[in-house]
């Protein structure tokens, strides 16, 4: 399927129709921003503790907040897919969206790295314990990547296609 056919198909779905009703888009935006707050309030707070803020809080105890961050992330994937489905060309050919996806990929790789290499060690970080250096770096990287995701998202409307600096457009 070529990109244009894919876009046309997305735009013909019931979800695209729903998103074009008066309240759907702003409501989904509101949910998207609340999901962002949930993610940054749990994962971001955990990252800050990894880096060294509020060191008296035992890290495993704070990790219990993470499921709510995952919940926020799921809200944002669902609302994000809804935006994309309604206006695919506004995202597919938007360099700001590509940047946002790049930062999300980096954040994802960072999460995988953290849980495969550092999670067990961090489970032993009780009150006053500093997290190991690689974990501290991953915490800082996580904050940087998520701020990158937010920035890419906020810049979407300022890079509305058509725009030339878009690698996808060369193939379509």
């Amino acid at each position: 399927m070529n990109p244009t056919a894919f876009e046309l198909w997305l735009k013909s779905t019931w979800l695209a129709d729903l998103m074009h009703t008066a309240w759907a888009w702003p409501t989904a935006e509101s949910l998207h921003f609340f999901g962002l707050c949930l993610l940054m309030g749990t994962v971001g707070v955990f990252d800050l503790r990894l880096i060294g803020l509020a060191k008296q809080i035992p890290l495993p105890a704070l990790h219990r907040l993470i499921p709510f961050g995952i919940g926020g992330f799921i809200i944002n994937i669902l609302t994000g897919i809804s935006f994309f489905t309604a206006e695919p060309d506004q995202y597919l050919y938007n360099p700001s969206f590509h940047t946002k996806m790049l930062f999300m990929t980096l954040a994802g790789i960072n999460v995988l790295l953290f849980y495969t290499t550092m999670f067990k060690k961090v489970q032993n970080c009780g009150p006053g314990d500093q997290a190991p250096m690689p974990a501290r770096i991953m915490g800082a990287a996580s904050l940087v990547f998520w701020i990158g995701v937010i920035s890419g998202g906020r810049l979407l409307t300022f890079f509305r296609p058509p725009i030339i600096s878009c690698p996808w457009c060369w193939f379509s």
């Binding site: 949930l38 803020l53 219990r64 300022f158």
Partner: protein
Amino acid sequence: MDWYSFFSWIENSALGVWMRESPSLWAFPFILILHTIGMAFLVGPNIAIDLRILGVAPRVPASLMERFFVVMKLGFVINVVSGLMLLVAYPTKALTNPLFYIKLLLIAIALTQTMWIRKNVLSADSFPFKGKVVAAASLVIWAAAVGAGRFLAYTYKYLLAGELL
């Protein structure tokens, strides 16, 4: 001075013109990004504190969550400054929309609740039923404040002062 003169005076200030008309990403787009990051650091840890009071992550000593107020204060300061800059760029758009005042009211209520929680729940490290009610309300009010902010982009009636004439 009538509203038109007041709004157009702000719109035509050096800051207002720069925010609105500069093609630089460091003008309006960057300030908008800051406003969102500030929100994340103000509302985010607030949600974490509310969740803790409601019983999530019970092994986190509540009194230690006060340490996150540094981050929340930073987020608040970023948002007052960036918010004022966005307001100077489009005073008519914001100030002629009733939802803008509702947003400010919601933020005032949410911040009052947060300070109450800090004093009566976190510092005391005790979780009275009243504290849980305020924490639950805090989640709702913050969500409403964030939603109100988002709806501002879709509900304004006049963008610039000239439309009032």
